[in-house]
């Protein structure tokens, strides 16, 4: 009998496991380093204010109401723009997903117009609709429209064929197949498209406000730069980041409740 040797374990690793504290530590360390660099005078405050200065600026803006004024102005453009673009985009996208003729008619036009950076259309829209709110809302709506069309019709395509055949085999009328199979089956893809279109809306509102607006976060950031108020400028950027996070969190909630079956 020779000596028994245990089989060495070699199957560990390569399985992502949650590490809840690590992200917070990374944040804390980065901000701490930044603050240290500012406090020691390594970073000139005019070009890179300290985190504390940005927080102070945010707090002051909150107290005197300017913050909410600008956020509200931006939301008044994002919300109607996103809703109009999404409603129109879903209407065309679902039609293209369901009817071959709608797809044949719509696809070439959508493919041709999709790559245009929609902010380039703002001057044209200002010419047509004036410098006020409608041109900005229309820019956002256009920017939201195209990705929504594409996500809606590809989502329809991703509905398994066998489910549609099953429904046909049970004699479901076409209307019911759309309502009970195609739409719920396309829902994950449509909601994923909402994330994209929401970030497009945020991007476009800032750009549009930088081109011509008195109020709104984009206008605020631009003014802060013109006055070299770097702390306010970065406070505006932080507000944008928070806004983006809130939108994404809200969509996550919607996804979890609509797609509970997944």
């Amino acid at each position: 009998m020779s000596e028994r040797r245990p089989v060495p374990f070699r199957g560990g690793g390569f399985a992502p496991t949650p590490r809840r504290v690590v992200p917070w530590i990374v944040f804390a360390v980065l901000i701490g380093l930044w603050q240290a660099a500012s406090s020691s005078g390594l970073l000139p405050p005019l070009f890179m204010p300290s985190p504390a200065a940005i927080v102070r600026a945010l707090y002051a803006l909150w107290l005197d109401g300017t913050l909410m004024e600008h956020v509200t102005a931006s939301l008044k453009r994002i919300v109607p723009g996103w809703i109009i673009g999404t409603a129109a985009g879903l209407a065309l996208g679902l039609a293209m997903g369901i009817f071959s003729s709608a797809r044949a008619a719509g696809l070439p036009i959508v493919s041709a117009l999709f790559p245009i950076p929609k902010i380039a259309l703002l001057p044209v829209l200002i010419l047509w609709l004036g410098i006020g709110e409608p041109s900005k809302v229309a820019t956002i709506a256009l920017g939201v429209f195209f990705p929504t069309v594409i996500s809606a019709y590809t989502a329809c395509d991703s509905v398994p064929r066998n489910l549609i055949r099953m429904a046909q085999s049970f004699g479901l009328p076409a209307r019911d197949i759309v309502a009970k199979i195609v739409l719920p089956g396309a829902m994950p893809g449509i909601l994923a498209g909402f994330r994209i279109s929401a970030s497009v809306a945020l991007l476009l509102v800032v750009a549009a406000e930088m081109i011509g607006a008195q109020h709104g976060i984009g206008a605020f950031v631009l003014t802060a730069r013109n006055l070299m108020q770097t702390d306010q400028l970065l406070a505006g950027v932080v507000v944008l980041s928070i806004l983006g996070l809130l939108i994404s969190w809200g969509l996550g909630r919607v996804e979890r409740s609509v797609l509970r079956w997944r």
């Binding site: 066998n162 055949r165 099953m166 049970f170 479901l172 019911d176 009970k180 089956g185 797609l259 997944r262």
Partner: protein
């Protein structure tokens, strides 16, 4: 219902899938279609239930379907084809909702079908929470709820493991002993054929045509008995000798993709 398949042929473009299939199926009979892959057995099943239009020939029932049958030709699918966003009860109800029944009658029928497939306690569960066997039971309940005249089973047990398959075969036999329907069952599993069929129809490879029809005289209910074990082994062996060479050819064929 007696079912008649007359001179049915089908081609996918230039590829001939089925050629001149003639088959009469008696009322209440279970016919199992077997054959090597690519023999067109699933195509034939699709044609029987009106999901595919044959290039030539026709399928007909003798007389009108029974009045209480909501969906005379009803399928049970290999991949179950359940809606993941609907509960078990709602998946079964899908087959009824557009039939203009009252809500109470719908509920009653669904409950009866779930009871018949021992799913009553899973009515509120979602498909992803169920094992493969339970999912196929939902598929079976959904088919029974419309009282089919002809039940079309497209490899219903192929996606299941061997033990689950055995259990579901027992379930199917128990249900069939009570429910009157004519059944066409496609499989590549010879044991299922020997256990479930009144007649086994062996199809040949592309273009699929009927190579042999084998009647098994022992009633299906008695086939589990020891005294018939030799018979079942013999059926299995005869079926295998009929399709073995073609199955080998099919298996060595390059896939056209």
């Amino acid at each position: 219902m007696p079912l008649h398949i007359e001179k049915v042929s089908h081609s996918y473009g230039a590829v001939e899938a089925l050629k001149d299939i003639d088959l009469d199926i008696a009322d209440g009979e279970t016919v199992v279609l077997i054959g090597p892959s690519g023999c067109g057995k699933s195509t034939l099943l699709g044609i029987i239930g009106g999901l595919l239009e044959p290039t030539a020939g026709r399928v007909s029932l003798s007389g009108p379907p029974p009045a209480d049958s909501l969906n005379p030709f009803t399928y049970i699918f290999q991949d179950f084809a359940l809606l993941p966003w609907r509960s078990v009860a709602a998946n079964v109800a899908l087959a009824l909702e557009h039939r203009g029944l009252g809500a109470a009658e719908c509920r009653e029928r669904v409950a009866a079908a779930l009871a018949l497939t021992s799913l009553a306690e899973f009515a509120a569960a979602y498909p992803k929470q169920l094992s493969g066997g339970m999912r196929q039971r939902v598929g079976i309940a959904r088919a029974l709820v419309v009282r089919p005249a002809v039940l079309l089973l497209d490899e219903p047990l192929s996606a299941l493991d061997a033990q689950t398959r055995e259990l579901l075969m027992e379930d199917l036999l128990a249900i069939w002993a009570r429910e009157k329907s004519t059944r066409v069952y496609v499989t590549h599993n010879l044991e299922e054929a020997a256990r479930l069929a009144d007649r086994v129809v062996v199809l040949s490879r592309r273009p699929g045509c009927i190579r042999k029809v084998l009647r098994i005289d022992v009633p299906v209910a008695e086939r589990g008995r020891l005294e018939h074990a030799a018979l079942l082994i013999d059926v299995h062996r005869r079926l295998w000798s009929l399709i073995r060479d073609e199955a080998a050819t099919a298996e060595r064929e390059m896939l056209d993709v």
